[in-house]
């Protein structure tokens, strides 16, 4: 069940990515529709985050190409926003909530300009949209997991993009934050923006997304939720046995670096 769309926001062609000679994504071909809330779903180590990172140009590609809005990422960077996993930064960093949200404006500012009043207003407005306005002056070291995630979302909103990639935004957040995030995504999608979310909870996936990508090293399915979230396809994604390819990858790594630990 791999459905292709016309005028996709993202087009991935023939994409293969390896870490240390072990494939993490194998021959991915997919297109994503505009204006949807898209879930990228699969077991741990299935390459979900890697797929987002390869679209954002953060990992080297072994083969294939990625097009965003039918162009190279470099030419449309200001229209694309990325929310890394919140664990990827040091939350003890000496910075305030406002400092972090303003980072969303840096890409537009260029080298010699400092954030102006207008940028601060945008940042405050974005904080309001995630219910964090009261925390603008707070140090980030004092935030809870859910608040950290909201700050990251506010930073992404401050980029005023059309396409958002979010890496596990629901991981380690409280129920209220989860609800706030999903409402925010619905609003964004109503405004014609596209949101791509890495996610691993199957139950909520049916409820949250209207389009789903099932991934486990290779692409299992790509299409609207009712057609993709079927027992058979999920079995294929999560099924006990890994694909032959994964085993080959495993063997390659062992042969090449017998005494090393895998990452």
């Amino acid at each position: 069940m791999i459905q292709h769309v016309d005028n996709p926001v993202v087009e991935i062609h023939d994409l293969t990515v390896t870490y240390n000679k072990k494939p993490v994504l194998w021959d991915i071909d997919l297109t994503l529709p505009a204006g949807s809330i898209i879930g990228v779903i699969g077991p741990n180590g299935a390459g979900k985050s890697t797929m987002i990172k390869s679209i954002m140009g953060l990992v080297p590609l072994n083969s294939g190409y990625v097009k965003v809005f039918d162009q190279d990422l470099q030419d449309v960077r200001s229209r694309v926003s990325y929310v890394p996993q919140k664990e990827s930064v040091d939350w003890d960093f000496p910075a305030s909530v406002m400092d972090v949200v303003l980072m969303g404006r840096y890409g537009k500012l260029g080298l010699f300009t400092r954030p102006r009043k207008a940028d601060k207003e945008v940042a405050l407005d974005c904080l309001r949209r995630v219910d964090m306005e009261a925390y603008a002056g707070r140090q980030i070291s004092q935030l809870s997991g859910g608040q950290q995630q909201r700050v990251f979302l506010a930073r992404a909103l401050a980029q005023e993009a059309d396409l958002y990639f979010m890496d596990e935004p629901f991981a380690g957040v409280d129920a209220a934050t989860e609800k706030a995030i999903i409402n925010l995504m619905k609003t964004m999608s109503e405004q014609g923006k596209t949101v791509v979310v890495v996610h691993h909870d199957l139950q909520s996936a049916v409820e949250y997304f209207d389009w789903v990508v099932l991934l486990n090293l290779r692409l299992i399915a790509n299409g609207p939720v009712p057609e993709v979230m079927t027992g058979q396809l999920l079995q294929e994604t999560y099924g006990g046995k890994l694909t032959l390819l994964a085993e080959v990858g495993e063997l390659l790594t062992k042969k090449e670096f017998p005494s090393r630990e895998k990452e």
Binding site: N20, K53, M56, G57, L58, Q74, R77, S78, V80, S81, Y82, P84, S88, V89, D90, F93, P94, A95, S96, D99, V100, M103, G104, Y106, G107, L109, L111, F112, R114, P115, Q139, S141, R155, Q159, R260
Partner: protein
């Protein structure tokens, strides 16, 4: 007058070192500063061969290039050979440092350069190491000019690149995704560290440079949770360290660089014990207060 020049030279070294050190410790690269400060030696020697004299500009340039090569090698061994960062630092800087020592010892007889003058600049010589122009005018201590220039360059670098340095330090992935080159800012910062280290090295000596690069920023880190304040506190600490270090040395009649490093260490210990948020004793007191209130 002697006291003034030494304290001023100490401060001029401490401020740029400390400002760059703030970024180093936040990037968890404190020891890279140490590595760079040693690995630049062959750069200094080669620059000396090319220019033929101990002229500061070519030496700073040679050292800066070597510093960037050092950080490149550290990254290279880490990513390509999958060596741990600390091992990679250890391999790179000892090897380059040794190369510098060999270059000096082989050519020592022929040129006016020795380990002492390159490695162990001595801050107490600052007032007598004067810049005298060709027609005999005395312009004041040479170190003040070198470190003054370094100070201005570093200050401009941090002011112009503040938001890029802030973002690439806090969240490199997001920086890359928004089109800011993480590698470029990494190497610019490392270039600035090399440049500063070498200028400072020759002026005040090795131990003091490494101490000033790490200890004041680490102290400031304990005292505040705001990067701009952290940098201001670091700069202030640099001046305090130079001032009290000088008078401690005068009182003990001992090494000035040693006394300054010692003062920096004592201030760190004080911050560790008494910092309003993180201090060991402050926390104990707060906890005791809380338990008293409960009972």
């Amino acid at each position: 007058m002697e006291a003034f020049w030494i304290i001023a030279a100490g401060s001029l070294v401490a401020i740029p070192c400390g400002l760059l050190g703030c970024y180093l410790i936040l990037r968890q690269m404190a020891m890279v500063g140490d590595a760079i400060s040693h690995a630049v030696l062959p750069g200094i020697v080669i620059a000396f061969f090319i220019s033929g004299q101990r002229e500061p500009i070519s030496m700073l340039l040679g050292a800066s290039i070597l510093g960037v090569i050092t950080t490149f090698l550290i990254e290279f061994f880490h990513t390509k050979a999958r060596l741990q960062t600390d091992a990679s630092i250890g391999v790179t800087f000892t090897w380059l440092f040794a190369l510098g020592i060999i270059l000096i010892s082989v050519f020592a007889g022929k040129i006016d350069l020795d380990q002492d003058c390159v490695l162990y600049g001595e801050i107490s010589y600052v007032p007598i190491d004067l810049w005298i122009t060709a027609n005999g005018t005395i312009m004041g201590p040479r170190v003040m000019y070198i470190m003054g220039a370094v100070f201005i360059v570093v200050l401009l670098f941090i002011i112009i690149g503040y938001k890029e340095l802030f973002l690439t330090t806090f969240d490199p992935k997001f920086a890359a995704a928004s089109g800011i080159s993480v590698a470029l800012w990494h190497y610019l910062l490392m270039g600035a560290v090399s440049f500063t280290t070498v200028g400072a090295f020759e002026s005040v000596g090795a131990i003091l440079v490494v101490a000033l690069l790490i200890v004041p920023p680490a102290t400031a880190y304990l005292l505040t949770e705001n990067l701009q304040k952290m940098m201001l506190i670091t700069a202030g600490l640099g001046v305090v360290v130079s001032f009290f270090g000088y008078y401690l040395a005068a009182w003990l009649d001992g090494s000035i660089a040693g006394a300054m490093s010692l003062v920096a260490g004592v201030l760190f210990a004080a911050a560790f014990l008494f910092s309003p948020q993180e201090g060991l004793l402050t926390r104990k007191k707060r906890m005791a207060f809380a338990t008293n209130k409960d009972s």
